[in-house]
Amino acid sequence: MENNTIQTEGFPTPKNKFRIICFSGDMDKAFAVLTLASTAASMGMDVAIFFTFWGLSLIKKNRKLKGKNFIQKMMEFMMPSGLDSLKLSKMNFAGLGPFLMKVLMKKTKSPTLQDLLEAAKETGVKFYACSTSCSILGITKDELIDEVQDIVGAATFLAEAKDAITLFI
């Protein structure tokens, strides 16, 4: 009987700003990042994600070797590029894990990373890339998806994170 009543009042209203530092480039963690970001934005919150280091894999559009030095080219080859190529943080089994995960998601009709990214774009989530990790890896803005507003530094993030819920994923 208790299960039949739906609580509709007394829910706290969260803060109005939500910031995520997306540090990891793992498929499973990308789900957490994009789910929370798109949901928060659809709830009317102001949402921004800062992609840094391995997290840059999520917002890579294409592989580009031109303009990179030898080590950067090696990194470019080894790092996943784009949502489709992400690995699992556990049980990756050389790509079998992510494949099986995608099969399961299709079976349970769960949203895919692409769905969530699309939702995030539509709800107005802001994307930023970290300047230092971009320059270490030799990544330029034209290699990143068009929604990335800017390549910014740590101070910009800290200013943006004032009075916000902030997660490091």
């Binding site: 609580q7 659809s42 769960s110």
Partner: protein, 109 residues
């Protein structure tokens, strides 16, 4: 549905005036006519909330959307969502695992 029965038993023990008021209220509740219906059954978190948000944006203030959902998270998600956005859940019920939310779009920004 149990909620409804409880309401009825209360009517019996109250004054006529109160009874009329309550009956009127029940009348109004029965008359909720959604302007839009969205079947979110089969969608997994967070898609029901995101899609409803998109539809709400196309509705006029005060218009009502009826949402059907069967994701277990939706039960708490929609009230939490509305608490943040300012939209109002005017009625909610659960039948055979299907949640029904009547959401009225906020009139203020």
């Amino acid at each position: 549905m149990t909620k409804f029965e409880k309401g009825e038993s209360n009517i019996m023990s109250e004054s006529k005036e109160n009874r009329e008021k309550k009956e009127e209220k029940i009348e109004i509740e029965k008359e909720i006519r959604p302007d839009f219906e969205f079947d979110a059954r089969g969608l997994k978190c967070p898609m029901p909330v995101i899609k409803v948000r998109k539809i709400l944006e196309t509705l006029k203030p005060g218009e009502i959307i009826l949402v059907l959902a069967d994701d277990p998270g939706a039960k708490r998600d929609f009230p939490a969502f509305c608490a943040q956005t300012g939209d109002e859940i005017i009625k909610s019920e659960e039948e055979n695992g299907v949640l029904k939310f009547y959401i009225k779009k906020r009139t203020t920004n």
